[in-house]
Amino acid sequence: MKKLVLLSTCLLLLGGCLQQEEAVTDQLVGPLDTVSAVTLYGSDSRRIIDEVFAAVSDIDMRMSAISQDSELARISAGAGGPVAVSSDVFALVEEALAISAETNGAFDPTIRPVATLWDLGSGNERIPSDNEIAEAMSKIGYARVTLDKTTRGVSLDSLGMALDLGGIAKGYACDTAVAILKKNGARRGIIDLGGNIYAYGTKLGGKPWVVGVRTPIPGENGYFCTLNVSDKAVVTSGAYERFFEKDGRRYHHIFDPSTGRPADNGLLSVTIVASSATVADALSTACFVMGAERGRAFLAERRDAEGIFVTEGMDVLLSPGLLGQVEIADGRFRLAGEK
């Protein structure tokens, strides 16, 4: 009897001492043009989060298309001649271009001249003329970026072109953060870089994290559906994020590189779930541009990503891998296939 008491007491105490798991959350404002938050469990959390934020700030500084000193700005100003960049920038440009090719240009990191033309978010938004759009489109095209593997040189074939990794930078920063977490042996946490989510590990008790997707209606802050994920990135692109309205029509910030205008496919938002946040980030934009039909077909072939497509008609379409995994939380939205 005494042995039993001793044994059970020891085990109870052991359980208590094993891991003091408290959640630590911190925010980073500014880098990547947004607010980032990391929540970690475990004893070393604060230090790991600081390391993550330092890396995110670094990525922002070096990959920002806007800052004068960034490597990308130098490429764009390079007037056609190759600019040698650091190895991670080069690798990211390579990946961006590969995805551009795979999506047939739906994702295009050279889209900047078109975006600048429409100038969303500046307060000076207006609808450009067809001529202006044609002119801007003459300065885009992912195939016109030349990479030299040996020198790590990147060049654009004409003046006026620009390389912008904004559509993939947050995802890349997210993957970098995940690598830092893994390196430090972190067991569980949530990374939220401006809405790009990475659910790292599982919750306490071994359950997957529950990630909601923002209701794609401007002004509403809730979520319309949830999914259970573990070690996956969840990235959403939507028309609701940045737009202006004129004459009853909404002009948003996700441009279709083939038309030079905001993608007009009847979609409110696209959410991609993938193991790589970089891929999820790029594909969320690409699939939004592609539209529900092409986008779902594209994802079905890819296998490394799944998607949730929300149409203007409030229908929610899922790629095959997510069937049964998504729960609708807002009755205004209908899961396609359900009555």
């Binding site: 404002v29 607010v35 978010g121 939220d192 989510i197 659910a199 994290w209 923002r214 802050n221």
Partner: protein
């Protein structure tokens, strides 16, 4: 089942019932103990901290680009007006619980909720992709 068993069962149920009733009335203590406050900072420096409860009141702060008006009260906080060109912060809407925040990046202003219950105490999600 004998009398003692029933006694034990009744005692447990009574205890649970009383405790549960007390909790319902008094609220789940630790979650509501610390008051929720809105912490407003500009360029990393805290410029104001206000309780989220109570009547709505406006606070004028000066951001990097110009003035902003933050409205705090009735359990919510939001940017009522801002000098920034894109007005993303105004469109972001209201925040209500610990862990949520609204930022005006051009103005380098950040409003955070500290203390009080987290949103997840009531809802299921651990994060929202947006």
């Amino acid at each position: 089942m004998n009398r003692r068993d029933i006694l034990i069962i009744a005692t447990f149920l009574l205890f649970a019932g009383v405790w549960g009733a007390v909790k319902l009335v008094a609220g789940f203590g630790d979650a509501r103990d610390a008051e929720a406050v809105a912490e407003i900072s500009v360029a990393g420096k805290i410029v104001d901290i206000l309780p989220m409860s109570g009547e709505e009141r406006d606070v004028s702060i000066v951001g990097a680009l110009g003035p902003l008006t933050v409205r705090v009260g009735s359990g919510t906080a939001y940017v009522a007006a801002s000098s920034c060109p894109s007005q993303d912060c105004v469109r972001a809407g209201k925040i209500t619980s610990r862990g949520q925040c609204v930022a005006c990046l051009p103005n380098r202003a950040l409003i955070r909720v500290k203390g009080g219950a987290t949103a997840n105490a009531n809802s299921e999600v651990d994060a929202i992709a947006e």
